[in-house]
């Protein structure tokens, strides 16, 4: 060809016969260019990336642990400005004003009274609280209302708690041996740690055995009861025995170690609390505080102390005082993981079976497709529920149950694609070259149906998240203390009128993600195949 001479003499640049430089272009580049032109899809890509980033980095984000229960902080409303202490104070005061109003000590005019009565009768207690808090504060200031002695006492004690209460967490503990060498308590052997605890308490080590054996058994029993309900105590005990018998020594030792470690930690926590508590009441320390405390001559611990009521809950808390923000982020982790892993497994199964059925045809095709037909006939949700009931309720089983049922559609779709592709000449060409069946399927056929598969998977992720949410909503999905968007919504439906934020935030977050995924799927489909705009 003409251009090839040009190419050699000059710099090696690909030009056409008019000496115009020809820029390379692949189908995926083309698709990417089209995707970038679609504004909604670009916004969706950004949103989805933010979500995934948050979910992945959740453990290192400066948020409170998602499973940390602070009883004092139950049902605090979201606030950007107020600390937990202030919110707590407001909440308690509002309740006390309401009580005072009920007792007739807090006097309001006739019209207001009627309005408040009306709210109470329509069980809109939160409106009453919201109204009475500023009203009470105003009256208290102008002197028309005073607390009685017992109320004043409880207010004072709460104020003191809010000012002084601290929370201590043990980051790490070290054991000093005779040579003065430090070793991490976490890495001690089981008998060493038991010995350490005994030394700490000043008792014989063998006296502890009964206690921890009992505790571990109780712990296991609780777990068994949560996984399978409705059995008799005897049966539970039998299951417990079975489990203990079948457990290896190593696993049992690990349980013991965990149990004792927690105990040592809580002992140290108590000791530190005592020490720091006095310091705090004298307002001598500033928080948060990180320090290394020598508990005894052989035990050192690094302790972190924060003022409990200085916490801020931007999205409020739930009924156990857990931070909604971190629960939503961790819940997102679970929901998104279920979406992606579920889709991935179902796509893998679906692509392999679908392409085998499509390419090989004949009896294999017939067999696979009849299996698909039969599974289509079974009620999808029922199967998942049954699977969850049989294999127990945990996240892995949920993944598994969703994946084994959701490959049906994709396998049919891939089969159709492969069947239309397998008579193309490039497949015949590969066959005439002696290419093996796996090579033809995975080098020629699957790459050519990849765009359809990608688009389908993207649109599939939201539906997985929806299914998981639905199951969690029914109480069949993830179990406490884990959270998912669905379980967060499910838990909060009860207190919907009193604590709307508990429902509102996870619902919004989930909706935005689902929207973004759907727009992204649409965008991808248009990008890969501009002609298919109205299909699928």
């Amino acid at each position: 060809m003409l251009n090839h001479k040009n190419g050699k003499t000059k710099q090696e640049k690909a030009t056409n016969e008019f000496n115009q430089i020809v820029v390379g272009n692949s189908l995926s580049k083309d698709a990417w260019r089209r995707l970038r032109k679609n504004k909604m899809a670009v916004i969706s890509v950004i949103l989805v990336s933010i979500y995934i980033l948050l979910a992945v980095t959740a453990p290192i984000l400066p948020i409170y642990p998602y499973d940390e229960i602070v009883i004092d902080h139950q049902d605090l409303p979201p606030s950007l400005t107020k600390t937990a202490g202030e919110l707590m104070r407001d909440k308690e005061l509002a309740k006390m004003y309401a009580q005072a109003w009920r007792q007739g000590r807090l006097v309001v005019d006739e019209a207001t009274n009627e309005m408040l009565e009306d709210w109470v009768s329509r069980s809109k207690v939160n409106k009453v609280w919201d109204y009475l808090l500023p009203e009470g504060n105003r009256q208290l200031e102008s002197g028309t209302f005073t607390w009685n002695a017992s109320e004043q006492r409880s207010i004072d004690s709460r104020e003191k708690r809010i000012a002084n209460e601290i929370q201590i967490s043990i980051e790490k503990m070290w054991l000093k041996d005779e040579q003065g060498k430090l070793s991490d308590v976490k890495h001690l052997e089981t008998d060493e740690i038991v010995a350490l605890y005994a030394k700490l308490l000043g008792v014989q080590a063998n006296l502890l055995v009964d206690q921890y054996t009992y505790e571990i058994e109780m712990q296991l029993l609780k777990k068994i009861k949560a996984e399978s309900t409705g059995l008799t105590d005897d049966e539970y005990n039998m299951m417990l025995r079975d489990q203990l018998d079948s457990m290896s020594t190593k696993n049992y030792d690990a349980l013991v170690k965990e149990n004792i470690y927690e105990k040592i930690a809580s002992t140290i926590k108590d000791m530190a609390m005592e020490q720091l508590g006095t310091e705090a009441s004298q307002a001598e320390t500033t928080y948060p505080l990180n320090e290394k405390v020598a508990v005894t001559e052989y035990l050192t611990a690094s302790v972190k102390a924060t003022k409990m009521h200085d916490r801020r809950y931007y999205l409020g808390t739930d009924s156990l005082g857990r931070d909604m923000l971190s629960r939503i982020i961790y819940g997102g982790q679970v929901s998104i993981a279920i979406g992606f892993i579920g889709t991935l497994t179902s796509v893998l199964i679906g692509v392999v079976l679908g392409s085998l059925a499509g390419y090989l045809g004949g009896k294999i095709d017939y067999f696979i497709m009849r299996v698909v037909d039969i599974m289509y006939g079974l009620p999808y949700m029922l199967l998942v529920i049954i699977a969850m009931a049989i294999f127990g309720r945990n996240i892995l089983n949920l993944f598994f149950a969703l994946a084994i049922i959701s490959w049906l559609t994709i396998s049919r779709m891939v089969r159709g694609q492969i069947m239309s592709l397998k008579n193309q000449e490039f497949v015949e060409a590969a066959r005439s070259m002696g290419a093996s069946t796996p090579r033809i399927i995975f080098k020629h056929l699957v790459p050519n149906s990849l765009s359809v598969i990608i688009v389908f998977s993207t649109l599939r992720i939201p539906s997985f998240i929806m299914t998981e949410s639905f199951l969690s909503f029914l109480g069949l999905g993830v179990q406490a203390p884990y959270a998912s968007w669905g379980s967060l919504v499910g838990e909060s439906v009860g207190g919907m009128t009193l604590y709307p934020w508990r429902l509102f935030f996870p619902a919004i977050v989930m909706t935005v993600f689902l929207f973004a995924m759907n727009f992204l799927g649409d965008g991808l489909r248009d990008a890969f195949d501009p002609q298919s705009k109205n299909q699928l």
């Binding site: 060809m1 003409l2 016969e17 008019f18």
Partner: protein, 338 residues
Amino acid sequence: MNKKTPKSYENMLEVKNLKTYFLTDAGIVKAVDGISFSLRQGETLGIVGESGCGKSVTNLSIMRLIPSPPGKIVDGQIIFEGTDILALPENELRNIRGNKISMVFQDPMTSLNPFLRISTQMIETIRIHQDISKKEALAKSIEMLKLVGIPAAEERIFNYPHQFSGGMRQRVMIAMALSCEAKILIADEPTTALDVTIQAQILELIQKLSKKLNTSVILITHDLGVVAGMCENVCVMYAGKIVEKAKTDDLYKQPAHPYTFGLIQSVPRLDKAKDGKLFSIEGQPPNVIDLPPCCPFHPRCHKVMDICRNQYPPTVDLGNSHEVSCWLYAEHKELADA
């Protein structure tokens, strides 16, 4: 073959400086870039060119069927019986389209609706343009089918398109196109999808009907053999432009443009013994996006000169209505001017 029609006849169709561009992501595709030709009554005009040269776009422009966007007729006039089609409102256009100017497409299967009987489709077409009853329309349809040589037309008309073979379907298409007594029949590669023996049947049919009904025909094809047997005048298109226009005999005897010469030479001929290598035009047809202002054929031309690389050649009349756009003949014009 229809001999030269008297000059007193007005041109049925006159295309002047037609430009149809497509605005794509990659740039402006000048699919048709300033072409002009005319068609007399009863004349058969051939438009020849390779795929992508703009011959189909030309004919879609005449019907104003360019998908828009991305396509747009940016300039030019198409004068049919004294009126400019491009200036007509849509409702008047419908009166011309399918009625006075009809089309036959390359693939007869895709241009017939597979879910409707032939009768339904034909009656509908006729009744859109003519104010006659269903019965009369049916009778007319049967008459047309007989005219195009479909045996047992009275029964076959109630069949569905898939019950016809490829050649028969193309006959039905021609019958439909001519059922409204069209003045112009545009046949876009009518025989490309058909076998040689069937192709011969269809071409003969078109020729016979055009003579009988005095219909003008625009035959769009890539096959020089088909043009040789059918047309009186030929336009050769390359990269959106007409590079040569002549009477068929002149064109084949003395092709002026190197492209036309190359095209004719590069077809293997049954009637000539093979003598070694076949003549061939090197290179590829150009991509019509962002063409530089040169002769688009110059990279493939065996008579290329310096000027060809920088400027598009003017159109030169070689006499006997033989026109060519090539720098080889530009001197002629200068001489004539002087």
